[in-house]
Symmetry: C2
Subunit: 323 residues, 2 copies
Protein backbone atom coordinates (compact mmCIF):
# COMPACT_ATOMS: atom_id res chain seq x y z
CA UNK A 1 0.00 0.00 0.00
CA UNK A 2 1.32 3.41 -0.96
CA UNK A 3 2.28 5.55 2.02
CA UNK A 4 1.54 9.28 2.15
CA UNK A 5 3.65 11.14 4.71
CA UNK A 6 2.17 14.06 6.56
CA UNK A 7 3.74 16.77 8.72
CA UNK A 8 1.54 18.42 11.34
CA UNK A 9 2.17 22.00 12.48
CA UNK A 10 0.62 22.32 15.94
CA UNK A 11 -0.91 19.76 18.26
CA UNK A 12 -3.29 21.79 20.40
CA UNK A 13 -7.01 20.97 20.51
CA UNK A 14 -7.54 20.87 16.73
CA UNK A 15 -4.24 19.14 16.01
CA UNK A 16 -5.07 16.48 18.57
CA UNK A 17 -8.57 16.07 17.10
CA UNK A 18 -7.11 15.68 13.63
CA UNK A 19 -4.60 13.07 14.84
CA UNK A 20 -7.37 11.25 16.67
CA UNK A 21 -9.69 11.29 13.63
CA UNK A 22 -6.99 9.58 11.58
CA UNK A 23 -6.19 7.13 14.40
CA UNK A 24 -9.88 6.13 14.85
CA UNK A 25 -10.59 5.68 11.16
CA UNK A 26 -7.26 4.64 9.64
CA UNK A 27 -8.46 1.17 8.59
CA UNK A 28 -11.59 2.56 6.93
CA UNK A 29 -9.60 5.26 5.11
CA UNK A 30 -7.06 2.71 3.84
CA UNK A 31 -9.81 0.33 2.69
CA UNK A 32 -11.52 3.13 0.75
CA UNK A 33 -8.47 4.78 -0.77
CA UNK A 34 -5.82 2.08 -0.96
CA UNK A 35 -3.49 4.56 0.76
CA UNK A 36 -1.70 4.52 4.10
CA UNK A 37 -1.74 8.02 5.62
CA UNK A 38 0.91 8.57 8.30
CA UNK A 39 1.64 11.66 10.38
CA UNK A 40 5.40 11.33 10.66
CA UNK A 41 6.40 14.67 12.23
CA UNK A 42 4.65 17.09 14.56
CA UNK A 43 5.81 20.64 15.33
CA UNK A 44 4.82 21.20 18.96
CA UNK A 45 6.47 22.52 22.11
CA UNK A 46 4.10 21.10 24.70
CA UNK A 47 5.15 17.46 25.01
CA UNK A 48 3.74 17.00 28.50
CA UNK A 49 0.05 17.50 27.66
CA UNK A 50 -2.32 14.52 28.03
CA UNK A 51 -3.67 13.88 24.52
CA UNK A 52 -5.39 10.47 24.57
CA UNK A 53 -3.71 9.45 21.29
CA UNK A 54 -0.80 7.15 20.49
CA UNK A 55 2.11 9.41 19.67
CA UNK A 56 5.82 8.76 20.27
CA UNK A 57 8.40 11.33 21.45
CA UNK A 58 10.30 10.80 18.17
CA UNK A 59 7.37 12.19 16.18
CA UNK A 60 7.70 15.59 17.87
CA UNK A 61 10.04 18.33 16.75
CA UNK A 62 10.50 21.97 17.71
CA UNK A 63 12.24 22.79 14.43
CA UNK A 64 9.89 23.90 11.59
CA UNK A 65 12.47 22.86 8.97
CA UNK A 66 12.10 19.22 10.07
CA UNK A 67 8.68 19.39 8.38
CA UNK A 68 8.88 22.27 5.89
CA UNK A 69 12.18 21.10 4.38
CA UNK A 70 11.80 17.33 4.87
CA UNK A 71 12.15 15.66 1.47
CA UNK A 72 9.88 12.74 2.40
CA UNK A 73 6.85 14.75 3.59
CA UNK A 74 4.07 15.01 0.98
CA UNK A 75 1.41 17.04 2.80
CA UNK A 76 1.73 19.70 5.51
CA UNK A 77 -1.24 20.35 7.83
CA UNK A 78 -1.12 23.81 9.40
CA UNK A 79 -3.06 24.06 12.69
CA UNK A 80 -1.12 26.73 14.56
CA UNK A 81 -3.79 29.40 14.22
CA UNK A 82 -3.06 33.12 13.86
CA UNK A 83 -1.81 34.85 10.73
CA UNK A 84 1.93 34.49 11.40
CA UNK A 85 4.04 32.43 11.49
CA UNK A 86 1.32 30.22 9.97
CA UNK A 87 1.20 31.99 6.58
CA UNK A 88 4.98 32.01 6.24
CA UNK A 89 5.16 28.30 7.10
CA UNK A 90 2.51 27.47 4.49
CA UNK A 91 4.28 29.51 1.80
CA UNK A 92 7.59 27.78 2.60
CA UNK A 93 5.95 24.36 2.47
CA UNK A 94 4.43 25.14 -0.94
CA UNK A 95 7.73 26.51 -2.19
CA UNK A 96 9.24 23.15 -1.23
CA UNK A 97 6.64 21.29 -3.29
CA UNK A 98 4.43 20.23 -0.40
CA UNK A 99 0.64 20.24 -0.58
CA UNK A 100 -0.97 22.20 2.23
CA UNK A 101 -4.14 21.78 4.30
CA UNK A 102 -5.19 24.31 6.93
CA UNK A 103 -8.10 25.13 9.26
CA UNK A 104 -6.79 28.66 9.75
CA UNK A 105 -9.52 31.10 8.66
CA UNK A 106 -7.60 34.18 9.83
CA UNK A 107 -4.54 33.31 7.72
CA UNK A 108 -6.56 32.27 4.64
CA UNK A 109 -8.81 35.35 4.78
CA UNK A 110 -5.85 37.72 5.32
CA UNK A 111 -3.57 36.19 2.67
CA UNK A 112 -5.94 34.52 0.21
CA UNK A 113 -4.28 35.78 -2.98
CA UNK A 114 -0.72 35.08 -1.82
CA UNK A 115 -1.57 31.54 -0.68
CA UNK A 116 -3.60 30.67 -3.79
CA UNK A 117 -0.92 32.22 -6.00
CA UNK A 118 1.85 30.25 -4.28
CA UNK A 119 -0.11 27.01 -4.69
CA UNK A 120 -0.53 27.68 -8.43
CA UNK A 121 3.08 28.79 -8.91
CA UNK A 122 4.43 25.71 -7.13
CA UNK A 123 1.84 23.37 -8.67
CA UNK A 124 0.70 22.07 -5.31
CA UNK A 125 -2.78 21.60 -3.89
CA UNK A 126 -4.05 23.92 -1.14
CA UNK A 127 -7.25 23.17 0.76
CA UNK A 128 -8.97 24.77 3.74
CA UNK A 129 -12.38 23.12 4.23
CA UNK A 130 -12.13 23.32 8.03
CA UNK A 131 -11.71 27.11 7.93
CA UNK A 132 -15.45 27.67 7.29
CA UNK A 133 -18.23 25.77 9.06
CA UNK A 134 -15.96 23.30 10.87
CA UNK A 135 -17.03 19.78 9.91
CA UNK A 136 -19.59 20.90 7.29
CA UNK A 137 -18.21 20.18 3.80
CA UNK A 138 -19.38 23.51 2.37
CA UNK A 139 -16.23 24.60 0.51
CA UNK A 140 -16.05 21.24 -1.25
CA UNK A 141 -19.71 21.54 -2.23
CA UNK A 142 -19.33 25.06 -3.64
CA UNK A 143 -16.19 24.28 -5.63
CA UNK A 144 -17.04 20.84 -6.94
CA UNK A 145 -20.51 19.18 -7.02
CA UNK A 146 -22.37 22.53 -7.25
CA UNK A 147 -20.06 24.10 -9.80
CA UNK A 148 -22.72 23.96 -12.53
CA UNK A 149 -24.56 26.77 -10.68
CA UNK A 150 -24.28 30.49 -10.60
CA UNK A 151 -24.62 31.33 -6.90
CA UNK A 152 -27.23 33.98 -6.13
CA UNK A 153 -27.03 34.08 -2.35
CA UNK A 154 -25.06 32.64 0.55
CA UNK A 155 -26.45 33.16 4.04
CA UNK A 156 -24.72 31.53 6.97
CA UNK A 157 -24.72 31.02 10.71
CA UNK A 158 -20.96 30.62 10.93
CA UNK A 159 -20.09 31.05 14.59
CA UNK A 160 -21.10 28.57 17.26
CA UNK A 161 -20.35 30.81 20.25
CA UNK A 162 -22.69 33.59 19.18
CA UNK A 163 -25.39 31.18 18.02
CA UNK A 164 -25.25 29.46 21.41
CA UNK A 165 -25.56 32.81 23.22
CA UNK A 166 -28.51 33.95 21.07
CA UNK A 167 -30.20 30.55 21.54
CA UNK A 168 -29.83 30.73 25.35
CA UNK A 169 -31.23 34.28 25.37
CA UNK A 170 -34.22 33.28 23.21
CA UNK A 171 -35.02 29.87 24.71
CA UNK A 172 -33.97 30.24 28.35
CA UNK A 173 -34.47 33.96 28.82
CA UNK A 174 -30.82 34.37 29.88
CA UNK A 175 -29.17 37.79 29.76
CA UNK A 176 -26.32 38.28 27.27
CA UNK A 177 -23.79 38.19 30.13
CA UNK A 178 -25.16 34.96 31.64
CA UNK A 179 -25.36 33.29 28.21
CA UNK A 180 -21.73 34.23 27.49
CA UNK A 181 -20.67 32.76 30.85
CA UNK A 182 -22.58 29.57 30.06
CA UNK A 183 -20.86 29.36 26.65
CA UNK A 184 -17.46 29.78 28.32
CA UNK A 185 -18.29 27.15 30.95
CA UNK A 186 -19.18 24.65 28.20
CA UNK A 187 -16.10 25.38 26.13
CA UNK A 188 -18.00 27.08 23.29
CA UNK A 189 -16.42 30.48 23.99
CA UNK A 190 -12.87 31.59 24.65
CA UNK A 191 -11.77 33.47 27.78
CA UNK A 192 -11.48 36.53 25.49
CA UNK A 193 -14.57 36.21 23.29
CA UNK A 194 -14.00 39.43 21.32
CA UNK A 195 -13.31 37.85 17.90
CA UNK A 196 -16.50 35.79 18.18
CA UNK A 197 -18.98 38.25 19.69
CA UNK A 198 -17.83 41.23 17.60
CA UNK A 199 -18.28 39.25 14.38
CA UNK A 200 -14.64 39.26 13.22
CA UNK A 201 -14.46 35.45 13.15
CA UNK A 202 -17.54 35.38 10.89
CA UNK A 203 -16.11 38.13 8.64
CA UNK A 204 -13.02 35.96 8.02
CA UNK A 205 -15.25 33.05 7.01
CA UNK A 206 -17.48 35.20 4.80
CA UNK A 207 -14.41 36.60 3.03
CA UNK A 208 -13.36 33.03 2.16
CA UNK A 209 -16.89 32.08 0.99
CA UNK A 210 -17.09 35.18 -1.23
CA UNK A 211 -13.75 34.32 -2.86
CA UNK A 212 -14.80 30.76 -3.67
CA UNK A 213 -18.45 31.32 -4.58
CA UNK A 214 -18.33 34.70 -6.33
CA UNK A 215 -14.70 34.86 -7.50
CA UNK A 216 -14.32 38.24 -5.80
CA UNK A 217 -11.71 39.14 -3.23
CA UNK A 218 -13.07 41.11 -0.27
CA UNK A 219 -10.65 41.31 2.67
CA UNK A 220 -12.40 40.77 6.02
CA UNK A 221 -11.67 44.36 7.07
CA UNK A 222 -13.74 45.58 4.10
CA UNK A 223 -16.82 43.58 5.13
CA UNK A 224 -19.34 45.68 7.13
CA UNK A 225 -19.42 43.78 10.42
CA UNK A 226 -21.56 44.08 13.53
CA UNK A 227 -21.49 41.60 16.43
CA UNK A 228 -24.01 40.65 19.09
CA UNK A 229 -22.73 42.60 22.10
CA UNK A 230 -25.48 45.20 21.76
CA UNK A 231 -28.34 42.68 21.56
CA UNK A 232 -30.83 43.04 24.41
CA UNK A 233 -33.64 40.81 25.63
CA UNK A 234 -35.99 43.39 24.13
CA UNK A 235 -34.53 42.72 20.63
CA UNK A 236 -34.92 38.96 21.14
CA UNK A 237 -38.52 39.38 22.30
CA UNK A 238 -39.38 41.65 19.39
CA UNK A 239 -38.06 39.04 16.92
CA UNK A 240 -40.16 36.34 18.60
CA UNK A 241 -43.25 38.57 18.50
CA UNK A 242 -42.62 39.12 14.78
CA UNK A 243 -42.54 35.35 14.17
CA UNK A 244 -38.82 34.73 14.00
CA UNK A 245 -35.42 34.81 15.65
CA UNK A 246 -32.37 37.01 15.76
CA UNK A 247 -29.31 35.25 14.33
CA UNK A 248 -25.81 36.52 13.59
CA UNK A 249 -25.97 36.18 9.80
CA UNK A 250 -23.18 36.39 7.24
CA UNK A 251 -24.74 37.35 3.91
CA UNK A 252 -23.40 37.64 0.38
CA UNK A 253 -25.99 38.23 -2.33
CA UNK A 254 -25.96 39.13 -6.01
CA UNK A 255 -27.78 42.38 -6.77
CA UNK A 256 -27.58 42.88 -10.52
CA UNK A 257 -23.86 43.07 -11.33
CA UNK A 258 -23.03 44.00 -7.75
CA UNK A 259 -22.45 41.85 -4.71
CA UNK A 260 -23.97 42.89 -1.36
CA UNK A 261 -22.29 41.53 1.75
CA UNK A 262 -22.11 41.97 5.46
CA UNK A 263 -22.18 40.38 8.91
CA UNK A 264 -24.84 41.47 11.39
CA UNK A 265 -27.61 40.30 13.75
CA UNK A 266 -30.54 39.68 11.42
CA UNK A 267 -34.19 38.70 11.77
CA UNK A 268 -34.82 35.18 10.40
CA UNK A 269 -38.48 34.19 9.94
CA UNK A 270 -39.45 30.92 11.63
CA UNK A 271 -40.25 29.23 8.31
CA UNK A 272 -36.70 29.80 6.96
CA UNK A 273 -34.46 26.72 7.32
CA UNK A 274 -31.86 28.78 9.21
CA UNK A 275 -34.37 29.53 12.01
CA UNK A 276 -34.07 25.95 13.30
CA UNK A 277 -30.28 26.12 13.65
CA UNK A 278 -29.73 26.39 17.39
CA UNK A 279 -27.15 26.12 20.15
CA UNK A 280 -23.57 25.77 18.92
CA UNK A 281 -24.56 24.47 15.46
CA UNK A 282 -23.66 26.23 12.22
CA UNK A 283 -25.41 26.17 8.87
CA UNK A 284 -24.92 27.62 5.42
CA UNK A 285 -27.90 28.36 3.18
CA UNK A 286 -27.08 28.57 -0.55
CA UNK A 287 -29.20 29.61 -3.52
CA UNK A 288 -27.99 28.50 -6.95
CA UNK A 289 -29.61 29.31 -10.28
CA UNK A 290 -30.06 25.60 -11.10
CA UNK A 291 -30.16 23.79 -7.74
CA UNK A 292 -32.41 26.31 -5.98
CA UNK A 293 -32.25 26.38 -2.17
CA UNK A 294 -29.82 24.19 -0.26
CA UNK A 295 -28.76 24.14 3.37
CA UNK A 296 -25.76 22.46 5.00
CA UNK A 297 -25.97 21.99 8.78
CA UNK A 298 -23.51 20.68 11.34
CA UNK A 299 -20.92 21.39 14.01
CA UNK A 300 -18.92 24.48 13.18
CA UNK A 301 -16.14 23.80 15.67
CA UNK A 302 -14.66 21.23 18.02
CA UNK A 303 -11.58 19.00 17.72
CA UNK A 304 -13.20 15.99 15.99
CA UNK A 305 -15.56 17.83 13.59
CA UNK A 306 -12.67 20.06 12.56
CA UNK A 307 -10.42 16.99 12.36
CA UNK A 308 -12.97 15.38 10.02
CA UNK A 309 -12.75 18.34 7.63
CA UNK A 310 -8.94 18.51 7.80
CA UNK A 311 -8.58 14.79 7.13
CA UNK A 312 -11.16 15.01 4.31
CA UNK A 313 -8.90 17.53 2.59
CA UNK A 314 -5.86 15.35 3.23
CA UNK A 315 -7.63 12.34 1.71
CA UNK A 316 -8.65 14.28 -1.41
CA UNK A 317 -5.08 15.48 -1.92
CA UNK A 318 -3.65 12.01 -1.24
CA UNK A 319 -6.00 10.52 -3.84
CA UNK A 320 -5.20 13.19 -6.41
CA UNK A 321 -1.42 12.80 -6.08
CA UNK A 322 -1.65 9.00 -6.21
CA UNK A 323 -3.60 8.73 -9.50
CA UNK B 1 -9.74 25.26 -24.48
CA UNK B 2 -10.06 21.50 -24.30
CA UNK B 3 -13.44 20.22 -25.45
CA UNK B 4 -15.23 17.39 -23.62
CA UNK B 5 -17.91 15.73 -25.75
CA UNK B 6 -21.03 14.41 -24.09
CA UNK B 7 -23.81 12.13 -25.34
CA UNK B 8 -27.23 12.45 -23.70
CA UNK B 9 -29.60 9.49 -23.50
CA UNK B 10 -33.11 10.92 -23.10
CA UNK B 11 -34.39 14.49 -23.30
CA UNK B 12 -37.56 14.40 -21.21
CA UNK B 13 -37.96 16.69 -18.17
CA UNK B 14 -34.63 15.80 -16.53
CA UNK B 15 -32.71 15.68 -19.80
CA UNK B 16 -34.03 19.11 -20.71
CA UNK B 17 -33.17 20.45 -17.23
CA UNK B 18 -29.64 19.09 -17.57
CA UNK B 19 -29.21 20.65 -21.02
CA UNK B 20 -30.57 23.95 -19.69
CA UNK B 21 -28.28 23.90 -16.63
CA UNK B 22 -25.27 23.61 -18.95
CA UNK B 23 -26.64 26.26 -21.32
CA UNK B 24 -27.28 28.76 -18.47
CA UNK B 25 -23.91 28.29 -16.81
CA UNK B 26 -21.53 27.32 -19.63
CA UNK B 27 -19.39 30.46 -19.30
CA UNK B 28 -19.01 30.04 -15.55
CA UNK B 29 -18.16 26.35 -15.89
CA UNK B 30 -15.53 27.07 -18.55
CA UNK B 31 -14.01 29.88 -16.48
CA UNK B 32 -13.72 27.60 -13.45
CA UNK B 33 -12.51 24.44 -15.17
CA UNK B 34 -10.78 25.60 -18.33
CA UNK B 35 -12.92 23.05 -20.18
CA UNK B 36 -15.58 23.41 -22.86
CA UNK B 37 -18.39 20.90 -22.20
CA UNK B 38 -20.55 20.18 -25.25
CA UNK B 39 -23.57 17.89 -25.58
CA UNK B 40 -23.01 16.71 -29.15
CA UNK B 41 -25.63 13.95 -29.50
CA UNK B 42 -29.02 13.30 -27.90
CA UNK B 43 -30.96 10.05 -28.07
CA UNK B 44 -34.62 11.11 -28.18
CA UNK B 45 -37.70 10.30 -30.25
CA UNK B 46 -39.83 13.31 -29.39
CA UNK B 47 -38.42 16.08 -31.58
CA UNK B 48 -41.60 18.15 -31.57
CA UNK B 49 -41.70 18.99 -27.85
CA UNK B 50 -41.20 22.62 -26.79
CA UNK B 51 -38.04 22.63 -24.67
CA UNK B 52 -36.98 26.27 -24.22
CA UNK B 53 -33.34 25.41 -24.99
CA UNK B 54 -31.18 25.92 -28.06
CA UNK B 55 -30.84 22.53 -29.69
CA UNK B 56 -30.47 21.75 -33.39
CA UNK B 57 -32.15 18.85 -35.27
CA UNK B 58 -28.67 17.47 -36.10
CA UNK B 59 -27.97 16.88 -32.41
CA UNK B 60 -30.82 14.37 -32.17
CA UNK B 61 -30.54 10.70 -33.04
CA UNK B 62 -32.80 7.71 -32.60
CA UNK B 63 -29.91 5.26 -32.87
CA UNK B 64 -28.24 4.39 -29.49
CA UNK B 65 -25.03 3.40 -31.29
CA UNK B 66 -24.57 7.01 -32.46
CA UNK B 67 -23.74 7.75 -28.82
CA UNK B 68 -22.65 4.43 -27.29
CA UNK B 69 -20.25 3.57 -30.12
CA UNK B 70 -19.21 7.10 -31.13
CA UNK B 71 -15.41 7.32 -30.88
CA UNK B 72 -15.43 11.04 -30.07
CA UNK B 73 -17.84 10.96 -27.12
CA UNK B 74 -16.11 11.06 -23.71
CA UNK B 75 -19.04 11.00 -21.27
CA UNK B 76 -22.51 9.46 -21.59
CA UNK B 77 -25.37 10.87 -19.48
CA UNK B 78 -28.19 8.35 -19.00
CA UNK B 79 -31.55 9.97 -18.23
CA UNK B 80 -33.99 7.47 -19.74
CA UNK B 81 -35.26 6.17 -16.39
CA UNK B 82 -36.35 2.59 -15.77
CA UNK B 83 -34.04 -0.39 -15.33
CA UNK B 84 -33.84 -1.44 -19.00
CA UNK B 85 -32.69 -0.53 -21.57
CA UNK B 86 -30.92 2.03 -19.34
CA UNK B 87 -28.64 -0.51 -17.60
CA UNK B 88 -27.68 -2.19 -20.89
CA UNK B 89 -26.87 1.17 -22.47
CA UNK B 90 -24.67 2.17 -19.51
CA UNK B 91 -22.78 -1.15 -19.60
CA UNK B 92 -22.21 -0.81 -23.37
CA UNK B 93 -20.98 2.76 -22.93
CA UNK B 94 -18.51 1.66 -20.22
CA UNK B 95 -17.38 -1.28 -22.35
CA UNK B 96 -16.59 1.26 -25.07
CA UNK B 97 -14.45 3.29 -22.65
CA UNK B 98 -16.95 6.03 -21.93
CA UNK B 99 -17.47 7.53 -18.50
CA UNK B 100 -21.09 7.39 -17.36
CA UNK B 101 -23.31 9.72 -15.31
CA UNK B 102 -26.90 8.82 -14.43
CA UNK B 103 -29.82 10.07 -12.32
CA UNK B 104 -31.48 6.65 -12.52
CA UNK B 105 -31.99 5.35 -8.96
CA UNK B 106 -33.96 2.29 -10.09
CA UNK B 107 -31.20 1.10 -12.43
CA UNK B 108 -28.37 1.86 -9.97
CA UNK B 109 -30.16 0.20 -7.03
CA UNK B 110 -31.10 -2.89 -9.10
CA UNK B 111 -27.70 -3.36 -10.76
CA UNK B 112 -25.24 -1.72 -8.39
CA UNK B 113 -22.61 -4.48 -8.46
CA UNK B 114 -22.73 -4.98 -12.24
CA UNK B 115 -22.45 -1.26 -12.94
CA UNK B 116 -19.66 -0.65 -10.42
CA UNK B 117 -17.85 -3.78 -11.61
CA UNK B 118 -18.09 -2.71 -15.26
CA UNK B 119 -16.74 0.75 -14.39
CA UNK B 120 -13.75 -0.84 -12.61
CA UNK B 121 -13.13 -3.42 -15.34
CA UNK B 122 -13.20 -0.79 -18.07
CA UNK B 123 -11.33 1.81 -16.00
CA UNK B 124 -13.99 4.44 -16.47
CA UNK B 125 -15.69 6.72 -13.97
CA UNK B 126 -19.32 6.14 -12.98
CA UNK B 127 -21.26 8.70 -10.97
CA UNK B 128 -24.89 8.99 -9.89
CA UNK B 129 -25.22 11.96 -7.50
CA UNK B 130 -28.68 12.88 -8.87
CA UNK B 131 -30.08 9.43 -8.03
CA UNK B 132 -30.39 10.29 -4.30
CA UNK B 133 -31.67 13.62 -2.99
CA UNK B 134 -31.87 15.36 -6.37
CA UNK B 135 -29.76 18.51 -6.22
CA UNK B 136 -28.32 17.80 -2.74
CA UNK B 137 -24.65 16.75 -3.08
CA UNK B 138 -24.96 13.94 -0.53
CA UNK B 139 -23.20 11.11 -2.40
CA UNK B 140 -20.21 13.34 -3.07
CA UNK B 141 -20.11 14.31 0.63
CA UNK B 142 -20.22 10.69 1.83
CA UNK B 143 -17.57 9.44 -0.59
CA UNK B 144 -15.13 12.32 -0.48
CA UNK B 145 -14.97 15.14 2.12
CA UNK B 146 -16.48 12.98 4.92
CA UNK B 147 -14.44 9.88 4.15
CA UNK B 148 -12.41 10.24 7.36
CA UNK B 149 -15.54 9.17 9.30
CA UNK B 150 -17.11 5.91 10.19
CA UNK B 151 -20.81 6.48 9.58
CA UNK B 152 -23.05 5.56 12.50
CA UNK B 153 -26.43 6.58 11.13
CA UNK B 154 -28.09 7.90 8.00
CA UNK B 155 -31.66 9.14 8.28
CA UNK B 156 -33.32 10.72 5.28
CA UNK B 157 -36.45 12.34 3.94
CA UNK B 158 -35.83 11.19 0.38
CA UNK B 159 -39.11 11.62 -1.44
CA UNK B 160 -40.65 15.03 -2.18
CA UNK B 161 -44.10 13.70 -3.10
CA UNK B 162 -44.72 11.97 0.21
CA UNK B 163 -43.15 14.79 2.24
CA UNK B 164 -45.45 17.26 0.48
CA UNK B 165 -48.50 15.10 1.22
CA UNK B 166 -47.57 14.66 4.91
CA UNK B 167 -46.89 18.42 5.21
CA UNK B 168 -50.30 19.31 3.71
CA UNK B 169 -52.02 16.87 6.07
CA UNK B 170 -50.21 18.28 9.12
CA UNK B 171 -50.28 22.00 8.29
CA UNK B 172 -53.49 22.40 6.30
CA UNK B 173 -55.54 19.57 7.74
CA UNK B 174 -56.01 18.03 4.28
CA UNK B 175 -57.04 14.40 3.92
CA UNK B 176 -54.52 12.01 2.32
CA UNK B 177 -56.60 11.96 -0.88
CA UNK B 178 -56.83 15.75 -1.17
CA UNK B 179 -53.13 16.18 -0.40
CA UNK B 180 -52.25 13.64 -3.11
CA UNK B 181 -54.45 15.53 -5.61
CA UNK B 182 -52.75 18.80 -4.65
CA UNK B 183 -49.32 17.18 -5.16
CA UNK B 184 -50.39 15.94 -8.60
CA UNK B 185 -51.79 19.37 -9.54
CA UNK B 186 -48.47 21.01 -8.64
CA UNK B 187 -46.37 18.45 -10.50
CA UNK B 188 -44.87 16.89 -7.34
CA UNK B 189 -46.63 13.54 -7.91
CA UNK B 190 -47.04 11.34 -10.96
CA UNK B 191 -50.43 10.27 -12.34
CA UNK B 192 -49.59 6.81 -10.93
CA UNK B 193 -48.05 7.67 -7.55
CA UNK B 194 -47.50 4.06 -6.42
CA UNK B 195 -43.67 4.06 -6.44
CA UNK B 196 -43.64 7.22 -4.31
CA UNK B 197 -46.45 6.63 -1.82
CA UNK B 198 -45.61 2.93 -1.24
CA UNK B 199 -41.99 3.81 -0.40
CA UNK B 200 -40.33 1.93 -3.29
CA UNK B 201 -38.65 5.08 -4.63
CA UNK B 202 -37.16 5.70 -1.18
CA UNK B 203 -36.02 2.05 -0.86
CA UNK B 204 -34.03 2.44 -4.11
CA UNK B 205 -32.32 5.53 -2.71
CA UNK B 206 -31.62 3.92 0.68
CA UNK B 207 -30.08 0.90 -1.07
CA UNK B 208 -27.64 3.24 -2.84
CA UNK B 209 -26.83 5.14 0.38
CA UNK B 210 -26.16 1.87 2.23
CA UNK B 211 -23.76 0.71 -0.48
CA UNK B 212 -21.76 3.95 -0.41
CA UNK B 213 -21.82 4.69 3.32
CA UNK B 214 -21.63 1.20 4.83
CA UNK B 215 -20.01 -0.81 2.00
CA UNK B 216 -22.86 -3.31 2.20
CA UNK B 217 -25.06 -4.35 -0.70
CA UNK B 218 -28.76 -4.54 0.23
CA UNK B 219 -31.05 -4.80 -2.83
CA UNK B 220 -34.12 -2.55 -2.52
CA UNK B 221 -36.42 -5.59 -2.37
CA UNK B 222 -34.62 -6.72 0.82
CA UNK B 223 -35.27 -3.42 2.60
CA UNK B 224 -38.35 -3.53 4.89
CA UNK B 225 -40.53 -0.86 3.30
CA UNK B 226 -43.81 0.77 4.30
CA UNK B 227 -45.35 3.76 2.54
CA UNK B 228 -47.77 6.46 3.63
CA UNK B 229 -51.05 5.22 2.12
CA UNK B 230 -52.28 4.03 5.50
CA UNK B 231 -51.58 7.31 7.33
CA UNK B 232 -54.70 8.94 8.76
CA UNK B 233 -55.38 12.37 10.19
CA UNK B 234 -55.52 10.67 13.57
CA UNK B 235 -51.85 9.52 13.18
CA UNK B 236 -50.82 13.06 12.19
CA UNK B 237 -52.66 14.56 15.16
CA UNK B 238 -51.15 12.05 17.57
CA UNK B 239 -47.63 12.96 16.38
CA UNK B 240 -48.39 16.66 16.86
CA UNK B 241 -49.76 16.01 20.36
CA UNK B 242 -46.55 14.11 21.17
CA UNK B 243 -44.45 17.12 20.10
CA UNK B 244 -43.39 16.05 16.64
CA UNK B 245 -44.29 15.10 13.09
CA UNK B 246 -44.76 11.98 11.03
CA UNK B 247 -42.22 11.76 8.20
CA UNK B 248 -41.46 9.00 5.70
CA UNK B 249 -37.98 8.15 6.96
CA UNK B 250 -35.29 6.02 5.36
CA UNK B 251 -33.00 4.79 8.12
CA UNK B 252 -29.72 2.88 8.15
CA UNK B 253 -28.00 2.60 11.51
CA UNK B 254 -25.07 0.67 12.96
CA UNK B 255 -26.05 -1.60 15.84
CA UNK B 256 -22.87 -3.27 17.01
CA UNK B 257 -21.59 -5.24 14.01
CA UNK B 258 -25.03 -5.25 12.42
CA UNK B 259 -26.75 -2.71 10.25
CA UNK B 260 -30.43 -1.91 10.86
CA UNK B 261 -32.35 -0.46 7.93
CA UNK B 262 -35.83 0.25 6.71
CA UNK B 263 -38.27 2.72 5.17
CA UNK B 264 -41.39 3.67 7.11
CA UNK B 265 -43.49 6.56 8.45
CA UNK B 266 -41.68 7.58 11.63
CA UNK B 267 -42.22 10.03 14.48
CA UNK B 268 -39.66 12.86 14.36
CA UNK B 269 -39.47 15.08 17.45
CA UNK B 270 -39.80 18.81 16.76
CA UNK B 271 -36.28 19.53 18.01
CA UNK B 272 -34.69 17.16 15.46
CA UNK B 273 -33.34 18.98 12.37
CA UNK B 274 -35.43 16.73 10.07
CA UNK B 275 -38.68 18.01 11.66
CA UNK B 276 -38.31 21.34 9.87
CA UNK B 277 -38.01 19.74 6.42
CA UNK B 278 -41.38 20.48 4.82
CA UNK B 279 -43.28 20.51 1.53
CA UNK B 280 -41.39 18.94 -1.39
CA UNK B 281 -37.96 19.37 0.21
CA UNK B 282 -35.62 16.47 0.99
CA UNK B 283 -32.91 16.19 3.62
CA UNK B 284 -30.34 13.66 4.74
CA UNK B 285 -29.16 13.56 8.36
CA UNK B 286 -25.78 11.86 8.87
CA UNK B 287 -23.92 10.91 12.05
CA UNK B 288 -20.19 10.30 11.72
CA UNK B 289 -17.83 9.22 14.48
CA UNK B 290 -15.65 12.32 13.98
CA UNK B 291 -17.90 14.97 12.43
CA UNK B 292 -20.93 14.30 14.66
CA UNK B 293 -24.34 15.36 13.33
CA UNK B 294 -24.71 16.83 9.86
CA UNK B 295 -27.74 17.57 7.73
CA UNK B 296 -27.99 18.29 4.01
CA UNK B 297 -31.21 19.98 2.84
CA UNK B 298 -32.54 20.88 -0.60
CA UNK B 299 -34.74 20.04 -3.54
CA UNK B 300 -34.93 16.31 -4.11
CA UNK B 301 -36.38 16.52 -7.58
CA UNK B 302 -37.18 18.83 -10.48
CA UNK B 303 -35.44 19.39 -13.83
CA UNK B 304 -32.94 22.08 -12.78
CA UNK B 305 -31.97 20.74 -9.31
CA UNK B 306 -31.46 17.30 -10.87
CA UNK B 307 -29.63 18.94 -13.78
CA UNK B 308 -27.32 20.64 -11.26
CA UNK B 309 -26.37 17.26 -9.77
CA UNK B 310 -25.91 15.60 -13.17
CA UNK B 311 -23.71 18.41 -14.45
CA UNK B 312 -21.75 18.40 -11.15
CA UNK B 313 -20.86 14.77 -11.85
CA UNK B 314 -19.99 15.59 -15.47
CA UNK B 315 -17.70 18.42 -14.32
CA UNK B 316 -15.90 16.18 -11.81
CA UNK B 317 -15.31 13.53 -14.46
CA UNK B 318 -14.25 16.12 -17.05
CA UNK B 319 -11.72 17.55 -14.59
CA UNK B 320 -10.38 14.12 -13.62
CA UNK B 321 -9.84 13.00 -17.24
CA UNK B 322 -8.20 16.31 -18.18
CA UNK B 323 -5.50 16.32 -15.48
Amino acid sequence: MKQIKIGLLGMGNIGTGTYKTLEMNRARISANTGLDLVITKILEKDLARERDVTVTPEQFTQEPADILEAPDIDIVIELLGGIEPATGFMLTAMHNGKHVVTANKAAVAANYDRLMGAARANRVLFRFEASVGGGIPILNALTSPLLANEYEEIRGILNGTTNYILTMMAERGMSYEDALKSAQAQGFAEADPTADVEGHDVANKLSILISLAFGKRVPPGDIPTAGITGITMRDIEKAAADGGKLKLIALAKKAGDDLEYGVKPTFVANDHPLAGVNNEFNAIFVKGNAVGELMFYGKGAGPLPTGSAVMGDVIEIARAISL
